[in-house]
Each structure stands twice: as C-alpha cells, then as structure tokens.
Amino acid sequence: MITIDDFTNIRGKVMKFGDGMNTDIIIPSQYLEESDPIIYCRYVMSAVRPTTYDEIQKYEDVIFVGGKDFGSGSSREQAPDAIKYAGVKLVIAESFASIFFRNCVNVGLPLLEVPNITDKVEEGDVLLVNLETAEVMNERTQEVLNGHQIEGFLLNKIKKGGLIPELQEYVKLHELDKINN
C-alpha cells in the first residue's frame, strides 16, 4: 500500500509528453542567458506546449510523463532546473539520456524510469508513486506499474536536495568558507 507520508511518496497529476523530449525542447537556448531559474522556468517545454508553465501553476502537484530518451542533447543543467523550479514534483520516462539523469540527481529533481509508461497513463491521470520501491499506481485504472529502482546512493542525493547542499556541508567541514589558508 502506497501512502503519501514522506518524501519518497509523491502524488500528482500527469502532464504527458512523447518520445525524444530533448534539452532544446525542455528549455530553448534563447532563455539560457537568464541565470535565474525562477525566471527561465516559465519557458519550460514551451517549444512543444506553450502553456506548460501556466498549467503547472493551476494544478496542485504535477508529474511529467515522457517517452524514450527524455533529456537527450545538451549538458545544460538548466533543463532539470527549469522543470524543478516550474513546480514539477517528479519526471517519469521510459528512458533518460545519461547526462540529463545525472543532472536531475544533482539538482534534486526526482526521476523514475518506467518501461511503457506512455501506454499505461493518460494526460490528467493521478499517479501515486513510491520512489523507494519504484512502484507507480494509476488511480484511474488502479494498475500498479514497476519502474527501475533508483540506487540508494543516487536516491540519497536527490533526497538531500542535490549536490549543492552536499557541497555546503563539505565546504564547512573543510573550512573552505574561510578565506585564510
């Protein structure tokens, strides 16, 4: 039974995208001159669905569902940051490109690989997801789908909020926050 009592359980409404959602679609280059994710996140997915940002704001919690090779292309970390800062709680896809996967972990954006998810889930469905066990329950169909479990090492990083909080601890521990050495 999946409950929503801690971080590893996420409940949200599906916004569905297809295969090959590359980083140029997730956040087009002309918005990258803006360093602040709170500003550029407004253009998330605008290349294929211009209303994406506004729709996310209307719903309580949103889960992106995509097909194959989600996040292929550039190493731009602004892609997962744009998704995260727009307010998306989780990205589920059939497969992820390598650099994008790592960038998601680094910015603390939860993600899950679930084979055939696009066949099993429709736009607007509500999903209940346990990140720890990689189980996804579709509330409409009551079907439980099994994704690929995220390894503990990576899940811990996501839970901590990504790499920067980890580095903050490192900096304090090694007194790199002091100017004299």
């Binding site: 002309q30 290349a47 550039s74 992820f96 790499l163 920067i164 304090k172």
Partner: protein, 422 residues
C-alpha cells in the same frame, strides 16, 4: 589482472583509489583537464557561491580552461554581462579564459594542448566527447558537477560498459566520416549508447585523418554515448607534435580479452552520402532518397565540422562557383580562421557569395549568426537538428550533412550530394 577496455584502463588510471575498475564500478576521479564554457557564469558561479566556498580548489585552477564560445562576441547585453562576470571571476581566482571570438571550445581545447592519449577529460558541455579522438576518455558533465570540481577537484563516475565499433574498408571518394557516423546513427538511433562508452577501431578508422575522427567522436553523444574513444597512432602523434601538450602521454589499447557489451561492425566502403532529416539526428536518409529539398540557408560550422580540413573540402567545391542560398561559414577557431586566410579559402568563400565570420558556435545551437526563423529550411554541418535548435519553431527544419554536401547544396540551392558516383 582481468582484461580491460580502454575506458576501464583510463578510469582505473585516474581513480583516486588507484585500483583497477571495471564496468559497473563507481569510482572517484581526478580529471587530467577540465573544459568549461558559458556554463560557468550561467550555472556554476551562482551555485559555487551557494556552497559558501571562498576559494577554488587549486587542482581545478591548474587544469581548467574556460572558452567563451556559445555567446558570440558582443551579441546581447545579457551575454556581454555573463562574459564580464566570467572575466572578473577568472581574475579573482587566477582561472584561464579564452575570450569570445577565439573559437569553439572543442577546437581550442585540443589546439592548446589540453588533451592527450590516456587522459580523463571532463567538460561542462555534452560535446566534450569530441576529445575521445585523442585516445582519451572525455565526457560531458553538468553545471553542478563543475561546481563539485571547483570545490573538491574531484568527482565520481560510473564506469560504463563499452560498445566496440569496428570500421573496415575505406570511404569512397565524396563520402566523409560525417556520412559514416550518420549512417550508424540512422541504424542504431540516439538511444544506442545510453550510459555506455564507444570505442572505435579498425582499418577504416586508421585510414581517417584526425580531423575526420574528431567529427565521429563529437557525435558519439548523438548516439547516446558517454564517450567515443579512438585508437592512438602515428597520425595522432603527428598532431600532438604540433601542440604544447601538457605532461606525458599514455597511449591506451584494449586488452585482448576485454569485455564489450556489443561488438558492432560496419564497412566504410558501403557508406553513401546521407543527411539527417528533421527533427532528429537519427532520422537519416541517403542524399538521393531525400528528394527535392529547397534551402533557405546553408550553415558550415560547429565543433563537428569546422576544422581546416572541412574548410578545404568546402573551398574545393565553392571555387569559381556562386552560392544560390544564403550560406554562412564559421571557422572552428581563430587559428583555423588564420589558416583559411593563408590558404586563400576565405577569398574563395567570399567570391562565391558566402558569408565568413569570426569563430563562435553561432547558429549551431541558435545562439547568433544565422539563426533560422519560422518555416525556414536549413542544411547544416552541425550535430543536432532538434525542433528550435537553430532558432525558429516546429515549422523550421534543419538537415544535417557533411561539409561537402553543404557546399554542393549551397551552389544548387537544394540538398545535393557532392561528386559521388555509385
């Protein structure tokens, strides 16, 4: 010890634990050198500030080259500002920066001697894989990863499984390594190498020039791969002799019994000129098959195909000809530009009616100099043709091809192969 792939050997060599590692292991590494670009001011500097660190790791300072390539020179107020931030930061911490206009990072980096056989290269750009052509393991990383290197001088990597690509035979006249790479990509798709490294080998690879190999390593990432490693040979050594290489080289070969996830073979002599059609680099068709495609623009540039040999091919085709389509040629670096001037190529380009520019990424990623608009169709020597990649929207189309195809198409005003007979 168990037999190893080149990937496993290089990652073992650079592991902080100094232990042999194999596919599936996780390893802490210190890279030989680090490439950075505008990812530094856009993402890494703000996040570095968030860590609270007051200084950069000396190892990072020593081994990093930042090349301002994406933004162009004096293009927009915001970009100028980002470049200024970079310069101030670099001055504060003694970082080396190549200013906007000096070239594309994946050309400048090897011209400046930052890559050599046996190296582990990490760079805040997905096309860092280009440097695999130097018999190195080179991989793209994100902005936060760059921050980790700024703070700790090290990071972690998963040792990938490797796919071996063996190329036999020679490319025929009028067929180029871009055609070879795109042919494989068309067959195996952009998902082929996800989380895996590629290692190239075979007579067909040794037959290629270093520049032709750079094109193939560059597009290893379009095949989904985390690295695209070429063998070491005399041709590579000849190039290394001309640049100020940092440190000693460690040419690396795979062991006989090394464990490969897949062994793929292709015969180069069967490859035809091809283009990747909109909107994915794996949507590949032969030039003959693609039919009549009228072009609004031809773009010759990028870290894939803008080195001197690429410009030589273009110059040969454009000599005493006129382009019928707006054509822009952007050299890979200022060094390439100078050589093109010396060899008279620039005169040929301009006499043909093509535009010539200073070196930058330009329209490759829709930055500057030749962005396309709504409804426009372009042929480009770059590596990606995603929706909106070169500017425009879902009605804009980009085809990818070799410099030869680009030059011939520029003359005809529509997609045309160059001097290739079946």
């Amino acid at each position: 010890m168990e037999d190893q792939t080149v990937t496993e050997k290089i990652l073992s060599e650079h592991s902080l634990q100094k232990e042999p590692v194999f596919a599936g292991d996780r390893v802490d590494v210190g890279p030989s050198s680090i490439l950075s670009n505008e990812m530094l001011p856009m993402v890494a500097i703000p996040k570095f500030r968030m860590t609270g660190a007051k200084r950069l790791n000396p190892y990072f300072v020593e081994n990093t080259l930042t090349i301002l390539d994406h933004g162009g020179f004096g293009t927009t107020d915001k970009m100028i500002h980002l470049h200024q931030i970079t310069k101030h930061f670099a001055k504060l911490f003694n970082l080396k920066v190549e200013p906007a206009g000096s070239g594309i990072s994946h050309v400048v980096f090897h011209e400046k001697g930052y890559v050599k056989p046996g190296d582990l290269i990490l760079g805040s750009d997905s096309h860092t894989v280009t440097h695999g052509a130097f018999n190195a393991f080179a991989k793209g990383i994100g902005g936060s990863d760059l921050v980790e290197l700024m703070v700790k001088g090290s990071t972690w990597l998963d040792v990938p499984e490797t796919i071996s690509i063996k190329v036999d035979g020679k490319l025929r006249e009028g067929v180029y390594s871009k055609d070879l790479l795109l042919t494989m990509l068309g067959e195996k798709t952009t998902e082929w190498g996800t989380d895996r490294a590629f290692e190239y080998s075979g007579d067909g690879i040794l037959d290629l020039s270093l520049e032709a190999r750079l094109t193939m390593s560059n597009m290893a990432v379009e095949m989904g791969g985390v690295a695209g490693i070429m063998p070491y040979d005399k041709k590579l050594q000849n190039y290394l002799d001309t640049v100020p290489v940092r440190g000693t080289i460690h040419p690396t070969t795979p062991d006989l019994g090394a464990n490969y996830h897949e062994r793929y073979e292709i015969n180069a002599s069967e490859v035809e000129p091809v283009v990747a059609c909109p909107h994915s680099p794996d949507n590949v068709k032969s030039v003959d098959e693609v039919g009549e495609v009228e072009l609004d623009q031809v773009f010759i540039g990028s870290c894939t195909n803008a080195r001197i040999e690429d410009l030589e091919v273009v110059a040969k085709i454009l000599k005493n000809q006129k382009v019928r389509t707006e054509t822009i040629v952007i050299p890979g670096s200022s060094q390439v530009a100078l050589e093109a001037v010396k060899r008279g190529y620039v005169e040929i380009f301009m006499a043909a009616g093509a535009f010539w520019s200073y070196s930058t990424c330009g329209a490759c990623y829709g930055g500057s100099l030749g962005r396309i608009g709504s409804g426009m169709t372009a042929l480009s020597t770059t590596n990606r043709n995603f929706i909106g990649r070169m500017g425009g929207d879902s009605t804009s189309k980009t085809y990818l091809g070799s410099p030869a195809t680009a030059a011939m198409s520029a003359i005809k005003g529509k997609i045309t192969g160059a001097g290739y007979k079946k």
